[in-house]
Amino acid sequence: MSASTETETDDRHASTFATLSKVFGDGVFSTSRSRGNVRLFVPKERLIPLLTTLKDECGFSMLVELGGVDYLGYPGHTRSRFEVHYVVKNLDTTEQLIIKVGVDDPAPSIPSVYPLWRGADWMEREVYDMYGITFDGHPDLRRILMPDEFTAFPLRKDYPLRGRGERHNFPRLTRENS
């Protein structure tokens, strides 16, 4: 990535960062940039205040994407085991930011952003289904892709590619007891 593009990214986000440092003070969030993406790492407590500020004051009206990553065994990783990312977009200026928040074992949980964006509903349910991260305040946190009887979290790094045989041990429903 050339130097000029990096400066362009700076200019593009200048007013957003000015607002953020006005509300939260300087140097609270650690940021990293690569290939035009700007990522903000937030502690769990500040997630909802930050996203609310971004939505209400900086015009990031749309939550484009929400997903989780398991960093168990990632080379050189020193932060939390799981990270959840939020991609928010300002539809007027086409500005885009990635917010990352760390979640740790055991009993990983973070606040839900459902009150801010209804679109987070299924995306949070998928992260719960695949990684076992619970979202506090989500109105309907159930498994979405896997069946309810399933006990494991398939996208965790310690879950084997071929599974552990859960599929073959589902309770068998007969016509009598269905």
């Binding site: 990522r39 484009v64 994407e65 960093y71 990632y74």
Partner: protein, 402 residues
């Protein structure tokens, strides 16, 4: 009438529960809806997904960047090349590869052909579900011509697997261009036939207009994108607003509507096909000459067969990428990159750890996001409106259940 479907369902114990799907002819794939009905009026709809869950995202952590393209194809099997372009767009952004001009144009062409083919199926199937069988046959017949293009360019008819890191599997030859021209010649006639059949058809209009209305605020709040958001007045299009590939070189407009109902979504799709035809025409007329892969000195692309058989550099490069203990090494980084697919924003959140495979390939699938809008916009409509709304949302089950 209560606003909250949960409360209303609680307060009316006489409601009838109906399972719609998974094998209903109008659900096209395995979609299951559990409906609470008050007479014929829908009080609450609960979509159940996950019937196909095939672990595509887990596979992405075990296949390398070139192998995974065959899996990506199967996510939205109505427009596979668009998925390939999206996947390799993310990989190339991560590896910081600048594609050649010819490759960019070819990817635009196959992407737009995929968009037309997806919209043809969607509009045709919407017409079919509402009883207009002829329009569906016209649309589906036209898709065959697009399959002919795929077959000629890659050898595969349904899942081409045509893109590679840093380029393409093969170059376009004259036969491919001939087939694309043949398709372009036939297409406007089909569109006008479909318009004549449908836009003055009273049954069709009555069942589409004012059904499944999604307001602009809701569209943004529900993270909707693509034709569904544009039919509600959100004029965002990644091709215009964050241009990727060579979209800056082409002259086209972004069609939108403000009604937000099924008919608006149908019209937006029809108009997008016209725009896509114009883009493909411009790209074919101005197709740049030159290499279609980045130079092999950059260590990313698989050399074409001629180069690997006839030159030592090509042979070495081919070995370096194909041998199991060698291969393409990624940086330790992560990225979100998205393109405008037929259904909306198709993005990849890609994390790499320096090895040959990705650490995490999170897909941002448009259908998944759009299906959660369904219970909201179907409320208080009649049972028969479900097929109209499902058809206009264009839900692809394989994209729901990655």
């Amino acid at each position: 009438m209560l606003d909250d479907p949960e409360l209303e369902a609680e307060s009316k114990p006489y409601l009838w529960t109906l399972n719609f799907g998974p094998q209903h002819p109008a659900t096209h794939t395995t979609l299951r809806l559990v409906l609470d009905l008050d007479g014929e009026r829908i009080v609450r709809a609960t979509p159940h997904i996950g019937y196909l869950h095939s672990g595509f995202e887990k596979l992405g952590e075990h296949l390398n960047f070139n192998q995974y393209v065959t899996v990506v194809d199967r996510k939205n099997y109505i427009s596979p090349p668009m998925n390939e372009v999206a996947w390799h767009n993310a990989v190339e952004k991560l590896l910081d590869i600048e594609l050649t001009k010819r490759c960019q144009y070819i990817r635009v062409i196959i992407g737009e052909l995929a968009r037309i083919s997806d919209h043809l199926l969607c509009t045709g199937a919407a017409a079919l579900d509402l009883g207009a069988f002829t329009a569906f046959l016209f649309a589906f017949n036209q898709r065959e011509l697009i399959y002919d293009v795929y077959e000629e360019m890659s050898g595969y008819r349904f899942h081409p697997g045509y893109t590679r890191v840093g380029g393409l599997m093969y170059d376009f030859n004259d036969k491919v261009i001939g087939r694309i021209r043949k398709f372009l010649d036939a297409m406007p006639r089909v569109l006008s036939d479909m318009e004549k059949l449908l836009f003055r058809n009273k049954i069709f209009l009555d069942r589409m207009r004012g059904v499944g209305t999604l307001s602009r605020e809701d569209a943004i709040n529900f993270s909707a994108s693509g034709p569904i958001a544009r039919a509600s007045g959100v004029t965002y299009d990644l091709r215009k607003d964050e241009p990727y590939l060579a979209y800056n070189d082409f002259d086209f407009i972004v069609p939108y509507a403000t009604e937000g109902d099924c008919y608006a979504r149908f019209q937006v799709r029809m108009e997008e096909m016209v725009q896509s035809i114009s883009i493909v025409k411009q790209a074919i007329e101005n197709l740049p000459s030159g290499p279609y892969n980045v130079p092999i000195a950059e260590k990313f692309p698989l050399p074409d067969k001629g180069t690997s058989y006839n030159s030592m550099e090509g042979l070495i490069q081919h070995f370096e990428l194909i041998m199991p203990n060698r291969g393409l090494e990624s940086p330790k980084d992560e990225i979100y990159a998205a393109i405008e697919s037929p259904n909306g924003e198709l993005g990849y959140y890609l994390v790499t750890d320096g090895s040959k495979t990705a650490w995490r390939t999170r897909t941002r699938p448009p259908s998944y996001i759009h299906f959660q809008v369904f219970p909201h916009i179907i409320k208080d409509h009649l049972l028969a409106d479900i097929v109209a709304v499902l058809g206009s949302l264009n839900i692809i089950a394989a994209e729901l259940d990655r």
